[in-house]
Point group: C2
Chain length 124, copies 2
């Protein structure tokens, strides 16, 4: 079912502000970069995943440890770990029956910190 794409009607102020719009358009990053950025933040946009990442920043943990820590089922945690792994945020290591997860890189905490700065600013 192809969606009808109607061209967006320009309004008067677009014409007036044309210079600004063109300048901004030039400076915008590639469409794909912005999409990837949104995809990354989408991964951070769930409190379960935030908790998992925060926990793994403290210590490598196995799936059932995380499940117990967050009081959730192993299945739910496993699903979320999959999302985090696909996003390149965590890695896993098998030791017999047990699979240990840990953070893939150190940027995670820095992204959190920037978010926390905003939150604390806002509550002033």
């Amino acid at each position: 079912m192809a969606k009808k794409i109607q061209p967006i009607e320009r309004c008067d102020c677009d014409v007036i502000h044309e210079e600004i719009v063109n300048k901004v358009r030039e400076k915008m990053p590639q469409e794909e970069t912005l999409y990837d950025l949104a995809e990354l933040f989408k991964v951070f946009g769930d409190s379960t995943r935030i908790k998992i990442l925060w926990a793994l920043d403290e210590s490598e943990m196995c799936v059932c440890d995380i499940a117990f820590l967050l009081n959730m089922t192993q299945s739910a945690i496993s699903h979320q770990l999959r999302v985090l792994k696909q996003a390149g945020l965590v890695k896993s290591r098998r030791e017999g029956k047990i699979v240990f997860y840990s953070l893939e890189d150190e940027h995670v905490k820095q992204i959190f910190d920037q978010g926390l700065i905003h939150i604390s600013e806002e509550s002033k």
Copy 2:
């Protein structure tokens, strides 16, 4: 319809790793803080909103300018601006018929930058 809450069964390795789990639990931030953090990142987790924020980081713009820039309807942009405003990320200023939007604070770019660092690391 009350959902049946069954306590999460502890597995053997929880008992073994009890120390680690307890240590991590102590260090975890408040439940509410982690929830707020997820809510903030959820706002960044959409490419339309990312584009709007990026555009506003370049220049104050009115709704129809943004709509034209992103080739989307004014209504769609207006809805997203509302989300961004509620998250405390943008502010608005009326000048006659026209409403100009701009970034509320300077952290936005820093959060973007941290995200971009992760993306560029990943593609190595």
